[in-house]
Structure formats: C-alpha cells, structure tokens
C-alpha cells in the first residue's frame, strides 16, 4: 500500500482454475496498491489458496456459475464495501496492470462512468486471425443491437465508477455477459470511453478464452433473455 488509507479502487479478478497465472497477476496488482478481490468461481485447483496467500480478498462460489456471475458477485461485494471505482481484470495474465491507471485516468479526464479497454485502438502483434475476425463480428453485432460504437466489445479490462457499476444488471451468467454489460451501458445513457490497452495472447490465455463455436451459444442466450422478459 502506498498510503495508510486503503484504496477505494477495487480490482475484481474472476478466476476459474487460474492457479497457473493467478499468483503473478495478483502480485502485480497488490504492488500497485489496489484492493484486490478474487472471485473463485468453483475452481478445483489451488486458485483460492493462492489468492488468500497473496493477501487478496477472496469470495468463492460454491459451484461454477460462469464469468458473468463472478463479476456480478464481485461488483456487489465491492460496492457494499464502499468501492468508488471498480475494475474488472482477467486472471489469466492477458492484461497489463499498468493499463488500469490509464482507464481510471480516462474516467476522470472524460467525466465518464465506464472506461472500456480496447485492443484495437493500437496495434497488437500477437492476435490470431480467427480471433480478430470473431471480435470484428461481435463489434458489428453490438452496433446493431445497442448502438454503441466500440472497437472492442469483448475486452475483460474495464473500469466503472460507483454509479456506473450500480447500473449493471449482469443476469447472464456465462459468456453473454460481455454483450449484456454493453446493453446496460447503452440503456443507462451514462458516458463511456474506450481506452487503448494491450492484450497479451499466450497459448494459455487462448486455451481459456472463447472459441468460435461459443458465439452461437451467446446469441442463443441473449435471444432467450429477450423472450422471457
């Protein structure tokens, strides 16, 4: 910690069997003085143990619920603890800790309630072509459904103000939550800003990420949600 006062910026790391990378990620986050909250989404490996040992706050889902549910749990808890800013940060090591400060600076500078990381505002050398095409398709889908003009709709690195975090409903437990967050942002009418961030693709992060086939399931999830509300 840099000061005696605990930071009011909470970094939420949803983690499902991320024992391989979690220790390094948490080490870097704590090094910057953030409040770190790990949501262990029913992992069967050492995820919780590592997080506790690193001194993070840890909430463990008794069963695996999905990343969207983990984010919701984290946001709910962080807001209850008085968080002024909430950052979502993937535990697989694909984000850079230094980018968090840029997102928060953007919130302040632009008077925005949502700062969304984008890997397409600057050049990435490590992105596979199929992944790039998939993300492009998601961008078009977002423009069509929410009207938000974003360059990257599925980036796990985001920062919200307290007011922003409170409007997110996150009823989609699984991967469709990324689209749902955007829909909520559009609905709230609050200011949002995109910030260039770097995503490091490793074999590990790719193996944990979404596959092209998941896209269909996401569409189905979103469709079903419209039907029954």
């Amino acid at each position: 910690m840099r000061s005696n006062e605990p930071s009011t910026t909470w970094v939420i790391c949803p983690a499902f069997n991320e024992g391989t990378t979690l220790g390094r990620v948490l080490g870097e986050l704590h090094g910057c003085g953030y409040q770190v909250l790990v949501i262990d989404d029913g992992s069967s490996d050492a995820t919780s143990r590592i997080a506790v040992a690193m001194g993070s706050a840890v909430i463990g889902h008794p069963i695996n619920l999905g990343q969207g549910a983990a984010l919701k749990t984290g946001i709910e808890y962080a807001l209850a603890q008085g968080a002024e800013r909430v950052v979502t940060f993937d535990a697989d090591g694909q984000h850079r800790v230094g980018d968090i400060a840029r997102l928060i600076a953007a919130l302040d500078r632009e008077q925005a309630d949502f700062a969304l990381g984008s890997r397409f505002l600057q050049r990435s050398r490590t992105m596979p072509l199929l992944r790039a095409l998939l993300l492009k398709a998601a961008t078009l889908f977002t423009i069509a459904t929410t009207g938000l003009r974003l360059t990257d709709t599925h980036n796990g690195l985001r920062a919200f103000t307290r007011r922003g975090a409170a409007v997110l409903r996150l009823r989609q437990n699984r991967m469709a939550h990324a689209s749902e967050i955007l829909a909520d942002i559009a609905r709230s009418g609050l200011r949002y800003v995109e910030v260039p961030v770097t995503v490091d693709y490793t074999e590990y992060s790719l193996s944990k990420g979404q596959r092209a086939g998941d896209f269909l399931m996401v569409l189905l999830d979103l469709f079903a949600q419209r039907l029954y509300r």
């Binding site: 069963i63 619920l65 709910e76 808890y77």
Partner: protein, 140 residues
Amino acid sequence: MIAQAIFSLLLCGVLLYAWAEYRRSPAVASMSVVVSLAGLIFVWVPSLSTAVAEFVGIGRGVDLILYLWVCISLILLLNLHLKLRTQEESITKLARAIAIANAVVPSETVTALSERPRRRGASSRPAGAHTSKQMDDQIV
C-alpha cells in the same frame, strides 16, 4: 376401437393434468386443454382431420397432426428452457449469497475498513481468526 379407447384415456389424462396445472401457469394449461380436446375430436372423427388438412392445403390428416405436433413440441421445449433459466437464476442468487457470507477478507483490510470489535471468542470473530478458519475451509 382399441386405439380410440387408449388415446381417449391418454388425452383425458392430459386434461386432468391441465386442470391441476392451471394455478401454476394458466397459459400452458389452456394450451394443453385446447390440444387435448382437438386430439379427442380427431381420434373419434378421423375424417375430420383429413377435411381440415385438405382445407388448409395439406394432403392427409395424419400429416396435419404431425406438423402441429412438431410445433407443439418446439413450444414445450422453449417453455422448458425458460423454466431452466429461472431456476438457474435462483441457484445463482443462492450461491452468491453463500459466497459473500463466506468472504475471506485479509486482516489489514478488515481493520481498516470496518471497526469490528476485536474480541477473541466473541460471536463476531476477530479478522485474523476468521481468515485462517476460511483458509482451512478452502484447503479442505
């Protein structure tokens, strides 16, 4: 006559089920009533289904019933899917409540954030003991 008797029995069973279901979901119940009544009529007056089929431009009465059945099962499938989703949401809420109640908070954060009394053995356990207890749970 045997087929008619068996199907009539089955369809009457569906009618009973619809009556019992009416409280829980009137839409599904009324739909079941309509379907089973139509079924009863078609079972006892088979020529009627052919007449209706010809009227709407389908060759045979059996085909008409087959097409209708495909539609009905799709609707049932959707209904089931929605039910599962609602159930999933309840489970999520339950799991989240349990998870938050068992949150493991690093001791320095707890003392800084809230002024919990640090009494050993009291019902509100001191933060350090809380953490280590939780840690054991996690390891087990």
